[in-house]
C-alpha cells in the first residue's frame, strides 16, 4: 500500500449459529502510533450489520494512509500496519464464538 493512494481490503465474516445475529464491529490499528494516519473512507464498521444463520459475507474497507506518514520520523521503521476488526453481538445476553477473519 502506498501512502496517499486509496486501497481496498476485504474481510469475511460468518454467522456460525442457527439464529440471525445483529453484529457491530470496531477496529484497531497496530502499531498504535500509525492509527492517526489510517483514514477510512468507507467500511462496514460502526453500524449494526445483520447476518442470517450460517451466512458468510465479504466486508470491504476502503481506506488510505495519510501521505504525511512518510514524513513522520517515528514511522520510519514502520513497514507493516495491521488493521483488525472485532465483531460484537449487538444484542445483550447471548454468547457466541468469535468468527474467524481472513
Amino acid at each position: 500500500v502506498v501512502p496517499g493512494e486509496t486501497a481496498l481490503a476485504f474481510y469475511k465474516a460468518k454467522n456460525p449459529t442457527d439464529k440471525p445475529i445483529v453484529g457491530i464491529s470496531t477496529y484497531n490499528v497496530i502499531p498504535f502510533e500509525a492509527g492517526q494516519y489510517f483514514n477510512k473512507i468507507q467500511c462496514f464498521c460502526f453500524e449494526e450489520q445483520w447476518l442470517n444463520p450460517q451466512e458468510e459475507v465479504d466486508m470491504p474497507v476502503f481506506f488510505y494512509i495519510d501521505p504525511e506518514f512518510v514524513e513522520d520520523p517515528k514511522m520510519a521503521k514502520v513497514d507493516l500496519i495491521t488493521l483488525s476488526y472485532t465483531f460484537f453481538e449487538a444484542k445483550e445476553g447471548q454468547k457466541l464464538p468469535l468468527p474467524g477473519y481472513q
Partner: protein, 92 residues
C-alpha cells in the same frame, strides 16, 4: 470502545469512516468483482497499486447496485485511472 487493554495513558480512539458504512452485499452481487480484485492481488504479490483498476470496478459495481453511495470516482482517488480511460476512448 477500545479492544486493546493497555496501561498507557493514551487509548486508541476509533474514528468513524469519512463516507459512512457499506451495506452488506447479502446476495453477493459484487462477489465476482471482488474475486477478480483478489486474484489480481495474489498475482501481483499483494501490491495494492497494481490492482487499483479492479478495486475501482468493484466500487462501481457497488454504486450501480445501491450498495454504496454514489461518489465521483475522481474523488475516491481514481482520478488518474479515469483520465487514462477518457484518453483511450477516442482511439475507438
Amino acid at each position: 470502545m477500545s479492544t486493546a487493554m493497555n496501561f498507557s495513558s493514551k487509548s486508541f480512539k476509533p474514528r468513524p469512516p469519512d463516507k459512512g458504512a457499506f451495506p452488506l452485499d447479502h446476495f453477493g452481487e459484487c462477489s465476482a468483482f471482488k474475486e477478480r480484485f483478489m486474484q489480481c492481488l495474489r498475482d501481483s504479490g499483494y501490491e495494492s497499486s497494481a490492482c487499483r483498476q479492479r478495486a475501482m470496478a468493484y466500487l462501481e459495481c457497488r454504486m450501480e447496485r445501491q450498495l454504496m453511495a454514489n461518489e465521483p470516482l475522481e474523488k475516491l482517488g481514481f482520478k488518474d485511472l479515469i483520465d487514462e480511460k477518457s484518453e483511450a476512448k477516442p482511439e475507438k
